[in-house]
């Protein structure tokens, strides 16, 4: 009884962790299934077929490739724009600053259905045919807000005296930015970029509004496939995505803890 009391926190933590990880475990396990019918919902027998040929299902790797391309483009552009906005908002006092602050949050607060449909309206009025370009632009719009939030938090916690110290020591404005400001803001920028990528990769609703039959992203592919059956390859891709994200986090942790120990 006493032992249980003492380790209650550990049990709670494990339970929460299990709750969070269970879906991923199921996906990983079922990626080795050889389903009886078209739906991969019941365990039948072990098979590594899907792992050996993840592109086996027609269209899946094209969809994955498109999602990665859009995700990369959108997160790079959104990170650059968002970082610039965050510096402006975090560093300077100008007319319309609070209005800008508010507007930046709008995409985060707007329901995705509203944003997706209004963007579609906009694109149609502008005469831009639906497709991956429109999807990328739409993703940039909502990713920018998240980047701004992540970077601004970092920028406003930066000590302006560090930049003064750099100038005092003979660094011109460009050198000051590259050697002092940017390295210090980097963790916020990296966090914003990762967030932007995962939001873009993940998005279904806004994407669906602005997609054409030739621009099927991975979430759209999964959704479409689920109507007719669930190919095991989806589970493989899901597992790989999870492992990639996990290893990025783990590597980051190891690097930062090693740096701390070395220093």
């Amino acid at each position: 009884m006493k032992w249980i009391k003492k380790h209650l926190l550990l049990f709670a933590a494990l339970a929460v962790l299990g709750y969070l990880l269970l879906p991923n475990v199921v996906v990983a396990v079922f990626s080795f299934n050889s389903p009886r019918g078209r739906y991969n919902y019941e365990w039948n027998e072990f098979s590594a077929a899907a792992w050996l040929d993840p592109c086996g299902n027609p269209g899946i790797c094209e969809a994955l490739g498109l999602s990665l391309r859009i995700g990369l483009t959108a997160s790079v552009v959104a990170t650059i724009l968002g970082t610039l906005v965050a510096f402006a908002l975090g560093r300077h006092r100008f007319r319309g600053r609070s209005a800008t602050n508010l507007l930046i949050f709008m995409p985060m607060a707007t329901p995705e259905v509203v944003m997706g449909s209004s963007l579609l309206t906009l694109f149609v009025m502008a005469g831009m045919p639906s497709g991956s370009l429109n999807i990328t632009i739409a993703h940039i719009v909502f990713c920018v807000s998240f980047v701004v939030v992540a970077v601004k938090a970092r920028v406003s916690s930066l000590d302006p005296r560090l930049e003064e110290a750099a100038a005092d020591l003979g660094a011109n404005p460009l050198q000051t930015f590259l050697r002092v400001t940017l390295p210090l803001a980097a963790p916020g920028i990296a966090a914003g970029a990762l967030l932007a990528f995962s939001l873009s990769f993940d998005d279904y609703i806004i994407t669906n509004f602005n997609a054409s039959p030739s621009s099927i992203t991975f979430p759209m592919y999964v959704w479409g496939a689920a109507q007719r059956g669930t190919p095991v390859e989806i589970f493989v891709v899901g597992t790989v995505m999870f492992l990639v994200a996990l290893s990025i986090v783990v590597i980051g942790q190891i690097l930062s803890s090693r740096r701390e120990r070395k220093a």
Partner: protein
């Protein structure tokens, strides 16, 4: 640098106005090359703004800043041969200590940057910390790194903005001695901004006292203490007893007679400001003595005493109700008790005399305690 004299630092009619107030009224100040100079004043007096204008971090509203014959007021901060030790050190947290110190040298493309930086770290006795990050060092160590980072560039002028403000008392005393030593070693002009009068007096060759954006007085610590030019300086530097008096006439031998609340006293004529007869006769607490030892004598009652080891500090109430502070050194002479009636005395000439038309409480930290 001694072999390449850069010249004195001169501020000419330098001023700074912000949107809502004037931080620095036009001021003129010359700081001789190689001097340890202190800018002293209460917070908000404009001393840091003045320093930041010299560093180039603040643009003057008017006036000019010269080093030697060169006007540097239009030169950007990063091109000025002036370095600053910031109040909270402002070390770059993402760089190693050595890279912090080498930062300035590398910006000018010095090929020996790393070796010189290591040498500068040795100067502040922190050579062993070169590979660490700033947050792994204590406050005192970070302070010394900040100093090394500035000095290594051999600036014409080194600015120190309350550099010891964040350190505890003991470390502060240690660093004061250390700073003096380093300044003597490198021979660079140091301008030290502080609100701590004791720090300014112990460290600096000359002190400029600032108040409300204006210079009150410039001089050596002894000049400022013994001959303050205003009640502000008198009260801000150490303790003062200001006796309201009226000069009544000449008493011969370089002395003048004065009337202090009906009691006759003598003062040195040379101390009297020109054309003034209503004055404050200022006597420092240690110039007073208990007993009839000096030519000026007053009677009073001890209302408080505190023994500090080196000395005893008394509060003595004079007949008209004014309380003066008297410091009696612990030299074996008999100590007085609270409630005892005593004579206090002082020698004419040990006083300073100020025009009585100014606020006698200016510059006092514990305002409202003493009125007379």
């Amino acid at each position: 640098m001694a072999e390449n004299p850069s010249g004195d630092l001169r501020l000419v009619q330098l001023s700074k106005e912000f949107d809502t107030f004037t931080a620095v009224h036009p001021l003129d100040l010359t700081i001789p090359q190689g001097e340890f100079f202190a800018l002293l004043g209460p917070s908000g007096c404009g001393k840091t703004t003045t320093l930041r204008m010299v560093a180039g971090l603040e643009e003057p509203t008017s006036g000019a800043i010269y080093i030697g014959d060169t006007d540097i007021s239009e030169i950007k901060a990063f091109k000025r041969n002036v370095n600053t030790v910031f109040q909270n050190y402002a070390l770059f947290p993402h760089m190693r200590i050595l890279d912090n110190v080498a930062f300035g040298l590398k910006r000018r493309g010095d090929k020996n940057a790393m070796a010189k930086a290591q040498e500068a770290l040795e100067l502040v006795e922190l050579g062993h910390t070169a590979k660490k990050k700033p947050n792994q060092l204590s406050g005192g160590m970070q302070q010394r790194v900040a100093l090394a980072r500035a000095i290594v560039n051999r600036p014409d002028v080194l600015l120190l903005d309350e550099p010891l403000g964040a350190l505890d008392l003991k470390l502060r005393r240690q660093m004061q001695i250390e700073l003096k030593r380093i300044q003597a070693d490198v021979g660079i002009t140091f301008i030290h901004v502080t609100h701590d009068q004791e720090e300014a007096m112990t460290m600096a060759d000359s002190v400029a006292v600032m108040n409300a954006g204006r210079l009150e007085q410039v001089g050596s610590p002894a000049e400022l203490y013994d001959r303050p030019a205003s009640t502000f300086v008198a009260n801000f530097l150490g303790q003062s007893n200001l006796l309201t008096s009226r000069i009544t006439g000449d008493a011969g031998e370089g002395l003048s007679s004065a009337d202090c609340h009906g009691y006759p006293i003598l003062v040195a004529t040379e101390n009297i400001p020109d054309g003034v007869s209503d004055v404050f006769v200022g006597v420092r607490p240690e110039k007073f003595r208990l007993g009839r030892h000096g030519r000026n004598q007053l009677k009073g009652t001890v209302t408080d005493d505190s023994f500090t080891g080196v000395a005893t500090q008394y509060l003595v109430r004079l007949p008209w109700g004014f309380e003066v502070t008297v410091i009696q050194p612990n030299d074996g002479s008999p100590r007085a008790k609270v409630g005892e009636n005593v004579d206090i005395s002082w020698e004419p000439g040990s006083e300073f005399i100020l025009d009585a038309s100014q606020d006698e409480d200016a510059g006092m930290l514990d305002t409202g305690l003493r009125h007379g």
